[in-house]
Symmetry: C2
Subunit: 144 residues, 2 copies
DNA sequence: TGCTGGATCTTGACTTATTCCAGCCCATGA
DNA sequence: TCATGGGCTGGAATAAGTCAAGATCCAGCA
């Protein structure tokens, strides 16, 4: 059974990317903590391997997102976040107060979300759904 | 029949806001061109009334959004956009190539989108849906 | 109509997120 | 082992938006 390290190396190789300590650390940071921002990842990686440049983080994230390894989500009022759960059409639930974000499976189970009522001639390839509300903690803390 | 000007004045008054040339121009800019960015609005207003500060635009947009007159949407990779069609639970369709954005009515007609499969205890108050794809022009220009 | 308080606007600096650039470094394939 | 190009670093630049202080304007009231 391959270790996580080997796994991540394989992921990089499979996409024809060089295997570097920085990229492995970025991969790890995203799988350990989904929904992290680029800056979070920068800090985590820096703590882990000692040093990395901002640019390397952005490069790695962009490359991995481009290859479909990561998915980039950018809710209103927040900087971009990255997650490694891709291809299963899940959505996100975000607390308006504290910003906490959790995954939600597609409301209807399969991918009906892709069917807009009137597509205006567009070729739709993704439906992104974000639910806004208050998380249990915030709701309890300030019960309207 | 009230003119557009009178209408907009009424909107401001109804929400207890002062009626100023800047705000009327912002209201007009948003109704004339939905999905405009703050910067677009800044330019349009400036062309119309001669001068306005960046801050006044942001203030007006924030105040009007707060009062529910405007809705703010911020698709990934774009700056915030504003529209005056509120309260009808419609969604957006965005072209990945050119960024063109159009309205789409709610896929199912009413608001079932608000029902997530598992709400993780959140109190959900809005479901924001963005369809990503290619607009007819871009699809025609680069037929994969 | 004139006054006054508070809302609104202007100006300008600042913050945050992200990208650009130039040059050095190192993973990879021969 | 070695050449090479992709990758990394550090620094500067840009874009979007926010903050703060003081000037100005609107709306209600005498």
């Amino acid at each position: 059974m391959p270790s996580e390290l080997t796994d991540n190396q394989a992921v990089l190789r499979r996409h024809g990317m060089h295997v570097t300590a920085q990229r492995l650390a970025v991969l790890r940071a995203v799988s350990d903590g989904p929904h992290r921002t680029a800056d979070d990842i920068y800090k985590v990686v820096r703590a882990e391997i000692g040093a990395i440049s901002h640019q390397a983080v952005y490069d790695s994230l962009a490359a991995l997102t481009d290859k479909g390894v990561f998915r980039r989500i950018q809710p209103a009022g927040s900087s971009a976040r990255y997650e490694n759960r891709v291809g299963d059409n899940h959505h996100h639930l975000i607390c308006r107060r504290c910003g906490r974000m959790v995954d939600v499976d597609c409301a209807v189970g399969y991918t009906p979300c892709l069917t807009a009522d009137d597509d205006s001639g567009y070729e739709i390839d993704e439906a992104e759904v974000i639910y806004w509300g208050r998380c249990p903690q915030c709701a309890a803390a300030a019960p309207v």
